[in-house]
């Protein structure tokens, strides 16, 4: 099967409007999570939220840069998607063989008050078509909504479609917002932490929600002029078939996903340099991951969760965490798992507690979510 290369990527998060701002903040150990003013009926919650006024001025400045044929009225979610996409798409030759793949769990649901019975405002296909038309994509966009693995699965889907010549290249964009819709739901699940989340820690008390957007270009060609190339070496997405919300007690789906990703890459667990796992900081998710990583002989590999920086960004999580992990590979820096102090899973993990400079070639990225979904992708760096 042909190699599928990862091209330029970008993200917008509470830590910065551009990739380099977010990366620099992460390297400095900053978290985007903060105590928020009440959101609807949700009081004093910790979440990672992008300030609307700052986003608006950044967005307006960016728009002056390009010619837009579409109307200038965008929701916050659309502004995030467009901001993430602009640097990627600006110099891209979009052909009839370029796919647009959109990852989101809830799209524009924050715009709905329940009176709009036909769902026009919340329609994911309509949202996708607006974005596609705005940038002049020539094919119908693909929308993936597969819970919290969507962002990561968007990459594996693009890789598969490129490998079978369904398309030559693809632009992936992911976004989700922190809305009263999701906050009230996760709160009813008693899944929200009353402080900044602490993945894998003994005192973890749940997750924080976050909002962010990320965009990534992926192609059947290496990126011209780049000495370091990244490609998708192997991937898989296997369901737990266990429970629609509770993580598997055996980690079976994640274990199978990791095993198949490594098998496709013809790579042994020893060759993995680090793992960027899902690590939501709920008791059961982190425990499930620890079990799956032991079963796949990866427990001694340096591991982080980036949820302490961004919160759980739902449909964006897999994509933005991949992008930061690719920057780790590029810069040969292992990032600490923010919020971790003491082993909190029944089986130990080699959680990264401080920034480490070291040569890195392979990153295993995983995600897991509602409906028993799991995705694992092995990314490799190649020096040309």
């Amino acid at each position: 099967m042909r190699k599928v290369y990862i091209g330029p990527y970008n993200c917008i998060s509470p830590l910065g409007h551009r990739l380099e701002d977010t990366w620099n903040a992460v390297v400095e150990g900053k978290s985007g999570i903060a105590l928020q003013e009440p959101i609807g009926e949700i009081p004093n919650t910790y979440a990672a939220i992008i300030a609307t006024d700052e986003l608006d001025s950044y967005f307006t400045a960016q728009l002056q840069d390009i010619k837009l044929s579409a109307p200038f009225s965008f929701t916050k979610l659309e502004k995030l998607m467009i901001s993430a996409l602009l640097p990627i798409v600006r110099n891209l030759d979009i052909t009839t063989e370029t796919e647009l793949i959109i990852s989101t769990t809830k799209g524009n649901i924050a715009q709905c008050d329940g009176k709009d019975k036909d769902g026009a405002a919340a329609s994911l296909p309509a949202l996708a078509q607006r974005i596609a038309d705005l940038f002049g994509f020539k094919r119908s966009p693909i929308v993936i909504s597969n819970a919290c693995v969507s962002g990561l699965q968007a990459i594996s889907t693009a890789k598969r479609l490129i490998q079978i010549d369904y398309c030559k290249d693809a632009v992936i964009v992911a976004a989700d917002l922190v809305s009263e819709f999701v906050l009230s739901g996760f709160r009813s699940f008693q899944a929200l932490s009353d402080g900044i989340c602490r993945p894998y820690d003994e005192d973890r008390k749940g997750l924080n929600l976050g909002e962010a957007a990320a965009a990534l270009y992926i192609s059947n060609q290496p990126i011209p002029g780049q000495k370091q190339q990244f490609y998708v070496a192997g991937e898989a997405s296997i369901n737990d078939a266990n429970h629609i919300s509770g993580p598997s007690r055996t980690g079976e789906g994640l274990k199978c996903s990791i095993e198949r990703a490594l098998a496709e890459a013809a790579t042994l667990p020893e060759a993995v340099d680090f793992i960027c796992a899902h690590g939501t900081a709920t008791v059961y998710n982190d425990e499930m991951e620890a079990i799956a990583l032991h079963r796949t002989k990866l427990a001694d590999k340096p591991i982080n969760s980036l949820k302490g920086y961004f919160g759980h960004t739902l449909g964006t999580a897999g994509l933005i965490e991949t992008i930061v992990s690719l920057e780790s590979l590029r810069n040969n820096i292992l990032l600490p798992s923010l919020g971790y102090q003491k082993q909190g899973t029944s089986l130990p993990l080699a959680v990264i507690t401080e920034k480490i400079h070291k040569p890195l070639s392979r990153c295993l990225k995983t995600a897991s979510g509602f409906a028993g979904t799991n995705t694992a992708i092995l990314f490799e760096k190649e020096i040309l």
Binding site: K106, G114, I142, N146, F189, I238, N239, S245
Partner: protein, 199 residues
């Protein structure tokens, strides 16, 4: 290596009733989904109390999958589903629980279904399918994408069979078309056949 695949079984559920491999099944026709779905569930003879806890989208998907997979022995069946309205029918129910500040009781049992792919989870749990799965959302069924994605799963030996289709539910408007793709079967697995099934 490119191989040829076939559609071994297919079914359709909508306001006109239930078709299994193109033949109508005697099911209680009702304009109300709650009445129809319950009657049809009992007609299938499977005891599965969790059915009654599902949202409408999952009930619809579960019923279709039950028709096609009840007698299946293979557990190596991937699931590739799509629809237009995502989980909006249940999203509205969740919004309803948080729209009145005096009666503000969001329900975990509703919220968990505010993701379209939970219906895949329900099918996977019922039939013990620890397999590849994905949910796409599009205005119309994307035959091209689904056929190619399905062929990839089979060609790369990621699954022995693939359950594909469309499962749409919004405010009493519903349509399900599911088909099972594998090495043998009466129908060719190609774009024209799939488009015919979806009509």
């Amino acid at each position: 290596m490119e191989r040829k695949y076939h559609i071994s079984k297919h079914c359709r559920i909508d306001h006109h009733g239930v078709l299994y491999n193109g033949r109508p099944l005697s099911a209680e026709i009702s304009t109300e989904f709650s009445i129809f779905s319950k009657a049809f569930y009992y007609s299938l003879g499977t005891t599965y109390p969790k059915f009654f806890k599902m949202d409408n989208l999952s009930k619809l998907a579960w019923l279709g999958a039950e028709l096609l997979l009840k007698e299946e022995l293979s557990k190596n069946i991937a699931i590739v589903l799509s629809n237009r309205s995502s989980s909006y029918d249940t999203d509205l129910k969740h919004i309803h629980t948080i729209s009145n500040t005096e009666q503000y009781y969001p329900s975990p049992a509703i919220f968990v279904y505010t993701l379209p792919n939970v219906c895949i989870g329900e099918i996977a749990i019922r039939h013990h399918l620890q397999t590849e799965n994905i949910f796409f959302v599009s205005e119309q069924f994307d035959s091209q994408l689904t056929v190619n994605y399905c062929n990839y799963l089979l060609n790369s030996n990621r699954a022995e069979k693939v359950l594909c289709g469309w499962v749409e539910y919004l405010e009493e408007n519903y349509k399900l078309v599911l088909y099972l793709v594998e090495k043998t079967g009466n129908l060719a697995h190609d774009l024209n056949v799939v488009r015919q099934l979806m009509l």
